[in-house]
């Protein structure tokens, strides 16, 4: 079975992202869910044999995948996957990676609107799911 490893820096990247989400949104449970999603996205990427995307501005042999707005850079060695970086593409990715930005925020075409709406719908569903326990807690107080 293929192994998945993370470099210490990739772990630090993920920690910083989760801390940022926890602080900026004030909801640690959202941060934890997103961390879990990122971890599972890497596992699924390897399991389903998804295509390994490359970019000229990534180090040689590195590939990347996107999960929502987070870019996960990794290296594949003999079927094993090693995560190298996790980056919030909307915040920390240099402008040089314009094509990634376009993948996240596509030009205003009809097809792009459909993609954007799907992302918004998924975000809304996640937000509702996060809010549900709080509503239930409030009800118990009332």
């Amino acid at each position: 079975m293929a192994n998945i490893t993370w470099t210490p820096l990739a772990e630090t990247d993920l920690e910083e992202i989760l801390e940022y989400i926890g602080v900026s949104e004030g909801r640690p449970e959202t941060a934890r869910r997103i961390g879990d999603e990122i971890r599972r996205a890497v596992e699924e990427h390897l399991q389903i044999g998804a295509p390994h995307k490359r970019h000229a501005d990534l180090p040689a042999r590195w590939s990347y995948l996107m999960h929502k707005r987070w870019l996960i850079a990794y290296e594949l060695r003999g079927g094993d996957l090693s995560v190298r970086r996790v980056v919030d593409a909307s915040r920390d990715l240099p402008k040089q990676f314009e094509q990634w930005q376009h993948a996240l925020f596509p030009p205003k075409t009809q097809q792009a609107h459909v993609v954007a709406l799907r992302i918004i719908a998924r975000e809304l569903a996640d937000a509702i799911q996060d809010a549900r326990p709080q509503v239930l807690r409030l009800r118990t107080f009332v």
Partner: protein
């Protein structure tokens, strides 16, 4: 005032073209330079951290992710910063 290196000047031109083509908010020349410097800094950090991560991998330091341990560290820092569980 130091002379701008030609490569940096070309990068700045490319940056301006990107800004214009992306239809981003209009920037004054001063703001354009500031934004360019910010992007340069992002790129420097990006490359620096990529190199660190690659070096760690080359030294065999990559290991399976212990997500629960990672989350405990994050959770502790959030608590220290006053973010409730």
């Amino acid at each position: 005032m130091s002379t701008v290196q030609s490569t940096e000047f070309n990068q700045f031109c490319d940056f301006l073209v990107q800004i214009r083509n992306s239809g981003a908010a209009e920037l004054t020349p001063e703001q354009s330079v500031q934004r360019f410097r910010e992007e340069q800094e992002k790129l420097r950090i990006w490359n620096e951290r990529n190199a660190i991560s690659q070096a760690q991998a080359d030294r065999g330091e990559a290991k399976p992710l212990d997500f629960d341990a990672l989350w405990n560290r994050v959770s502790q820092r959030l608590a220290e910063r006053g973010v409730a569980k």
